[in-house]
Symmetry: C2
Subunit: 361 residues, 2 copies
């Protein structure tokens, strides 16, 4: 087992990464201060891992909320269901919430913890690759609004993140690839060496080779922990983590939540960002090709859905959180491993790129 | 005009208290950094003061959300309505929310600001006495759940509080008295001298004598600002501000939100707390009588509704935020001006008190 720390003064916390650690009582118990626990999971994950965790929680007053599985349930209504369970079970401000599942469960549970009685502690036990390398770390919590993804939420840090690589064995192939998209992102924005490693080891990751997966998760979390420690509230460099996300969120919102997986939309969005960067003479063509090839090898989609017209894309992108005073801002690439936030790209290039992508789809 | 400061390091902010200051452009504009503003008010207040504030916001991109008036609308659904307006108007992370109204508008708007795109700045312009002396100061934001009042929310501080005493001229008598309840609270929990002043000046307050109201608001805000600066997240002494609130919330939730005004429920709850304190030999009978007399003179209710049976009271009180691990904790009085949090009161006395109160109602 490896342990990293997200350094945020009195809100610092450990990330434990290892094989078969989900049932290790000594990793969880020190982070539960009261005697009440609300474990939140979904219908897919609960049958697989709930028992293992319950074993670690013996002697505590444990309630569970099992949500339906899917991005379309990441809503205020679902969050309210957790509040109702908490109140019906008489959970007070000394309760601890545990998120057992992928990014959707983690984001909703973290948001519920941030808002229940104005804030109770919570623990992240991510069971998808995407949640282990990205969404469970850094304290972004929240839900979707019909008009925009992740538009409702808070920054609220967990007490601990426990990433058990053995849970990835039961992950379906599509979810595995979606997680690899966020791993590739770290290579693209700030870690060229890691990007090269991924080019060489992508087959091993897809075959779920445990040492390769562990290394990729560790290196991803190292990158994320460094960025979050430097810029918790996304005033500066943390926004680089949104490479591909402005395009990706437009796809997710435009297609209806749950149609594309988040990682799939981000993969396509990253290639769109690379393509726009090349058209703006920021990035060389060879780097765009390397990006495209790695995404294809990772079995990820690279073309946006043809049903979203360029004008609708622009409309959906206009509510993005990176925008300031109505000016569209995007994460673009200067090189593999070097990203920047820019509002000074050519809008003609953007429109032409959206148009051409649609032709290819 | 008087100005106080709530000292919270980088989240410190001023409270301006004065007559006819709502339209003073120089009080608002320094706290708006972007060019987008969402002004939230309700159907009662908007017709009276919206124009005056709009004048101070000229040149900015101002949208408005006008909510129905009443505690029964302090819900997640209403908050979502603000999110929808913000997204439809393409408001991004540089927008500023302004709450123009009483406690309900302030609590919802603050919560919406805390959660929109993970946090945007907001300004409090309280127009009821209760909001000016209590709810607009200190960063408690949130909404009610069917099963418990203020159970969903965050700590999130405003940029500035602008309390214009001229707005109290249009306040109805019941709302005025409800505000006085929270003013009396400061006297009871920590300011015996102020309590004596209130005993002498209650008639002037009820007659809306401007200097008396200004003094009462200023002294209340001083008390609140001191407590909040010492204990922002209610780990310790801030909980004393909840004197009467555990009983009061039970009344509000049990009767249906909007039936009793919050200040009315708190008034009754404070007398119940005083009565219980006396039965537990913590407080002398003379102090209970002084409390009762001042509440009666303030035209506030002192008996809980007979329709809530003692068992239901206990049930409703069991979800209170002050409770830890299932143990009921209450704010009780040692003297006028001296309160404490206690879980070591006699539950037999509590039940007998609830029973006797019901007989009187």
């Amino acid at each position: 087992m490896k342990t990293l720390t997200v350094s945020l003064n009195d809100r610092s916390y450990p990330i434990h990464i290892g094989n078969q650690i989900v049932s290790q009582r000594d990793l969880i118990r020190p982070h539960i201060s009261g005697n009440q626990v609300m474990l939140v999971s979904n219908e897919t994950i609960a049958p697989l891992y709930l028992d293992k965790i319950m074993h670690s929680l013996d002697g505590l007053d444990v309630a569970t909320t099992i949500l339906p599985d899917g991005e379309q349930y990441k809503t205020l209504d679902t969050t309210n269901r957790i509040f109702t369970e908490l109140l019906q079970q008489r959970h007070n401000r000394s309760t601890t919430l545990i998120a057992l599942g992928g990014g959707v469960v983690g984001d909703i549970t973290g948001f519920a913890a941030a808002c229940y009685q104005r804030g109770v502690p919570f623990i992240q036990i991510p069971t998808t690759l995407l949640a282990q390398v990205d969404s469970s770390v850094g304290g972004k919590t929240g839900v979707n609004h019909m008009l925009g993804k992740n538009m409702i939420g808070t920054f609220y840090q967990p007490q601990v993140v426990i990433a058990d690589t053995s849970t990835l064995r039961t992950l379906d192939d599509r979810q595995l690839s979606a997680g690899i998209a966020e791993i590739i992102k770290y290579g693209l924005i700030r870690d060229a060496e890691f990007f090269e490693w991924l080019e060489k080891n992508i087959s091993a990751l897809l075959e779920r080779d445990e040492p390769s997966l562990s290394y990729a998760i560790l290196r991803s979390c190292q990158n994320k922990a460094e960025i979050v420690a430097a810029d918790e509230h996304e005033i500066g460099q943390r926004a680089l983590l949104n490479l591909g996300h402005t395009f990706g969120h437009a796809i997710e919102t435009g297609m209806g939540y749950g149609s594309w997986l988040h990682g799939e939309a981000v993969a396509t969005g990253m290639l769109m960002a690379a393509e726009l960067s090349a058209r703006c003479n920021m990035l060389d063509r060879a780097s765009v090709d390397r990006t495209r090839n790695l995404l294809i090898k990772s079995r990820l989609p690279i073309n946006p859905p043809s049903s979203i017209k360029p004008e609708q894309f622009l409309e959906l992108m206009s509510v993005d959180k990176k925008n300031i005073d109505g000016t569209l801002r995007l994460v673009l690439l200067r090189d593999i491993g070097l990203a920047e936030i820019s509002e000074k790209f050519s809008h003609d290039h953007l429109k032409a790129m959206l148009h051409d992508c649609q032709q290819q789809a």
